[in-house]
């Protein structure tokens, strides 16, 4: 164990505990302005702190921090590699953007539950950061529950019956999922006596017993229910469409991705001995079915937010393609995809929130003419959509390029076809939305638009614009970031 940089432990402590303490402050001292400033500054500090952390990870390889100085196998480790680092960056960037947006949103709609929103957001943030750096199965269970505990009420905060019944459905899916996850953890412990991921990965790669395969199955099904991976996606379109825009952005960009992140984290590495190439192909097929189903459903929706929500179902499917491809290039591609999708999807949902604020509803046919008054906002939405579809020069293109390269290198051309199809369908549903928006308005649609002539609040306009710009900027930095992403990529034996 090499000596760790003296900044690593304080950084990780800050990332986990600062939002948690801020949440307690938010609960005890309900002052909107102070709390918004607090959440924005916490986001900014997180970004600053992540720079030296990334440097350390790059220089020393994956970091293993044993909490309280208790060494493995007794201690509980925190583990940071390229994948975890990418997710921490995504959380900080999306979190900062959403925090700025939320400060404007809560003011402009005078949301009665603004206070609860802030408390839940801090709790969610803390849980996500803790989840991404956890290196222990049971710790992951606890952090997963913290995110659920914050995410479900975030859906229910939106007014109206639809939000409440969607939150209820989400709750049942999430709870059954977490119980299955815990069952899997128990089976792993029964079989191996280990819980720490680095130790599970370091085992001699002999064939695992049936207990471990069943454990992996329980864990995967549990996580799929939480991540809304096809075919356990039923709750996601309703919940993400019903939540308020900043909450939808967080849920789609981060919460659903956190569970999907765990699927690839656990399949590659800790449980590599528990599956065969045939099972990996099956997981890939499930991913592709998710991509196709989500995209086709997105094409059939009549309202804007369900389109974006179904797009999330589709985009999460790509993450599963890492399992059959399993190479360093695929690893980079999939992480990059997760990054770009997170930023772009947050931008998409925030921009959609602005449209709803401007025209009072999100029916697609009613969007006609909104390009005249909400042009920058619509541009942000279109650019984010292009990044999701993976057209050059956005980051989505680099991600798909890497995934397709990995597929062709290994002679598994069918995945390349699926990735291309997914991109095409994504472009279709994005351009369908944009084409509705640039139609000339019919006379009776003019009226509500006029009210927004004075333009949007800057706090509402800039977060989606900048997040979409970040998703595009990732298209220029592929070569630069690739070595960071590759840190800790498991030595895979397909």
């Amino acid at each position: 164990m090499t000596e760790l940089d003296s900044l690593v432990a304080p950084t990780l402590t800050f990332l986990i505990f600062a939002p948690l303490l801020a949440g307690v402050v938010a609960l005890l001292w309900p002052r909107g302005l102070v709390l918004d400033l607090l959440s924005i500054s916490l986001g900014a500090i997180s970004l600053v702190l992540l720079v030296p952390l990334s440097g350390t990870v790059m220089g020393q390889g994956p970091l293993l921090l044993e909490l309280g100085g208790h060494e493995l196998p007794l201690g509980i480790p925190l583990y940071v590699d390229g994948l975890a680092l990418a997710m921490l960056w995504l959380t900080a960037l999306t979190g900062l953007g959403t925090a700025v947006y939320a400060s404007g949103w809560l003011r402009s709609v005078s949301h009665p539950s603004g206070q609860q929103y802030r408390v839940l957001w801090f709790l969610l943030w803390s849980g996500l950061n803790a989840l991404f750096v956890s290196g222990d199965l049971f710790n992951i269970y606890v952090t997963l529950e913290i995110t659920t505990l914050a995410a479900v009420p975030l859906v229910a905060l939106a007014r109206g019956r639809e939000a409440l019944s969607a939150a209820m459905q989400y709750l049942y899916f999430a709870l059954v999922g977490s119980i299955l996850f815990l069952l899997g953890v128990a089976l792993v412990y029964a079989e191996t006596g280990l819980l720490a991921l680095p130790e599970l990965s370091a085992r001699e790669s002999e064939a695992a017993g049936p207990g471990e395969t069943i454990a992996l199955l329980a864990i995967t099904v549990g996580l799929a229910m939480k991540a809304a991976l096809f075919p356990a996606h039923g709750w996601l379109p309703r919940a993400h469409a019903a939540a308020s825009p900043p909450a939808s952005a967080l849920l789609s960009a981060l919460v659903a991705k956190a569970a999907a992140y765990l699927v690839i984290r656990l399949w590659l590495g800790p449980f590599e001995a528990a599956w065969t190439p045939a099972v990996a192909q099956l997981m890939g097929v499930v991913g592709v079915l998710g991509i196709l189903y989500g995209s086709l459903q997105a094409l059939r929706q009549h309202r804007l937010k369900p389109v974006i929500a179904y797009s999330t179902v589709a985009q999460l499917g790509y993450l599963l393609l890492l399992i059959p491809l399993a190479s360093v290039v695929a690893w980079q591609g999939v992480i990059y995809h997760a990054l770009v999708h997170g930023l772009a999807k947050a931008a998409f949902f925030l921009a959609a929130g602005n449209l709803i604020l401007g025209i009072g509803h999100d029916r697609l046919v009613g969007l006609a003419g909104c390009d005249r008054v909400l042009s920058k906002n619509l541009l942000a939405m279109a650019v984010a959509g292009v990044a999701i579809a993976g057209l050059p020069p956005t980051g989505g293109f680099i991600a798909k390029w890497w995934m397709i390269t990995a597929a062709l290198e290994q002679g598994q051309w069918w995945w390349a076809v699926a990735i291309g199809m997914g991109g095409l369908l994504a472009a279709l549903y994005v351009f369908r939305v944009v084409s509705f928006a640039v139609h000339s308005p019919r006379p009776w649609h003019e009226e509500p638009l006029r009210e927004t002539r004075h333009g949007l609040n800057r706090l509402l306009l800039w977060p989606p614009v900048l997040l979409a710009a970040a998703a595009v900027a990732l298209g220029m930095t592929g070569e630069l970031l690739a070595p960071f992403l590759a840190v800790g990529a498991p030595e895979v034996s397909p």
Binding site: T148, A156, M168, A186
Partner: protein, 117 residues
Amino acid sequence: MDWLGLYNYWVVVILMMAGFYIVIAQGNLVKKIVGLNIFQTSVFIFFISLAKLDGGSAPVYVEGITEYSNPLPHVLILTAIVVGVALTAMGLALVVRVHELYGSIEEDEIHEQDGSD
């Protein structure tokens, strides 16, 4: 192998299936949450059963005792119980909100009202 010796696992399986069945089959939201709790408890019992050693004593250091049960699962499940209580509380709070908005906690009645909107 004496099947009676494994009776705690039989209990786990029966509780698990019963709990899961309640979650799926019951229309009453509170009963669904009770079902989830039964389901969850079965996993807790399973995890704790793993720790038991034949003839092992409680993991407290006492002169003359050489075999101890594994304390780690107990500690983990203690944490899991806390998490479970928090989630149950949240679920019940949501049910209270549902009752305020719909005046009912039966799923079919709620769907009926959703449909008529």
